[in-house]
Amino acid sequence: MRKLINDPDHVLPEMLEGLVRLSPGLALLPGSNVVLRSEKTAGVALISGGGAGHEPAHVGFVGPGLLHAAVAGDVFTSPSTDAVLDAIRAVAGLEGVLLIVKNYTGDRLNFGLAAEMARAEGIAAEMVIVADDTALDMGPDGVGPRGIAGTVLVHKVAGAAAAAGLDLASVKAEAEAAIAALGSMGVALSACTVPAAGKPGFTLADDEIELGLGIHGEAGVRRAPIEPADNLVTLLLDRILAQKGVKSGDRVALLINNLGATPVMELMIVARQALAVLEARGITVLRVWAGTFLTAIDMAGCSLSLMTLDQSRLARLDAPASAPAWIAGQ
């Protein structure tokens, strides 16, 4: 394993320290893996998080107009209930907290139990579950889709709603509406290597890719021979459009996300085709982002996320925000 790390066991605290040293507006909650804003603000507080390995998410999205805190667990492992509760206690004001959680058993359990405990302490705590991965067919009574990179847009919508002074129920309602409007799908060109494991989670032949892969290296819809980028982009977008019922005339935000090791060169080629396909489908892209938002450590590949927009949700995406990994949409 060739990685710029020291000890696999120290990856989490060291990278959080690095982030906080790079970011004057952020601080670490002492003795924990919780990143917070240096300055407290009034209003509903937003907390997200989950296992590490998705950097810059979620710690890079803490800042004005976005999250109030992010709780990081070990790589690909949900933070403990205690850690989430610490974060809640640290940022909760009178208006309460909203937890933005990706749809995984560990995250649901730990954030959910922490929210219960917080409520027992008299803190208003609510939770929303992001389940934006449209790659896999879901039965009606399963656990539902995974939460993947579109989560970042949910942070932004909820963050703007909280910054606008809305109450907890309203912020939660906007987050839930954003989640309902969101669909994503990814393609992996390589597996990722968890530092503690020391080797890639799976192996692909030189001409193989995995479609609809999870952001922890979980298997996707299928393994397939590599195709030209344009075909892959079309495939991903058409799947999202179909699953989310997005149609000609709709207006969307588009997030083009590097899964970790994709060169900018490739991301720009993907962007070109993504914009062309949506235009050809009669869909108006009101805002677009291309960059590194929510990764699977060092996985090569990308995910695409679409969120349908009305005027008010567009305003949430455009509202001022500043966090280490946030950039304004174009």
Binding site: D74, S78, V143
Partner: protein, 203 residues
């Protein structure tokens, strides 16, 4: 207790490998970390009873490892230890009550049913096998052996199941054909616990 710690720490690579086939490949890492920390804490104690050991393990998993297994195995061990609390001698009835509490803890939290390809597919048949053996008049030791056999069979049965909960559940048919990681660790835990008790009962 130390046997429990040792086997999980020792077999963590294998558990991660199983998890890697349909999940995210970290089951061994998470379990190994939690059991290692618990082991260190146990060794730091002058002495401890079985319920105390289980309680410490449960606490450690709950507060230090996170993941799915933190809350699930955490409440599993915590609730099992509560059943035994204050008991000096462990009877077959106590052990049965303990298994029931552990299973209830996991199912109330995780909502997994038998057949969903989780550790419940080891725990539930193992518990039934134990209770059935006792009901049939078998000795405590024999019932523990029945539990071991059922746990191993339960693990093997997960191979042909399609996951309904947890990370692997999104794969549908693609999750068939491999063991379940949580079932594998649960089998290790139950078989090791049983083996320890069988040895103790033989003395």
């Amino acid at each position: 207790m130390y046997d429990l710690v040792d086997i999980i720490v020792r077999e963590q690579g294998k558990l991660s490998e199983i998890d890697g086939q349909t999940g995210d490949g970290d089951h061994g890492v998470n379990m190994g970390k939690g059991f290692r920390i618990a082991g260190e804490r146990l060794r730091a104690l002058p002495s401890f009873t079985l319920p105390e050991g289980l309680a410490l393990l449960g606490d450690t998993l709950l507060s230090d490892i996170g993941g799915s297994m933190g809350p699930l195995y955490g409440t599993f061990f915590t609730d099992m230890s509560e059943v035994l609390d204050g008991k000096d001698i462990l009877t077959a009835a106590d052990f049965s009550a303990m298994l029931a509490a552990g299973l209830a803890a996991i199912q109330s939290l995780g909502e997994a049913k038998p057949g969903d390809k989780t550790l419940v597919d080891v725990l539930a048949p193992a518990r039934t096998a134990f209770d059935d053996a006792i009901a049939q008049g078998k000795s405590f030791s024999e019932a523990l052996q029945a539990l071991q056999t059922a746990a191993a069979a339960g693990l093997e049965a997960t191979r042909d199941m399609v996951a309904k909960v947890g990370r692997a559940s999104r794969l549908g048919e693609r999750s068939r054909g491999t063991l379940d990681a949580g079932a594998a660790s649960c089998d290790m835990i139950l078989e090791t616990l049983a083996a320890g008790l069988i040895k103790q009962l033989a003395v």
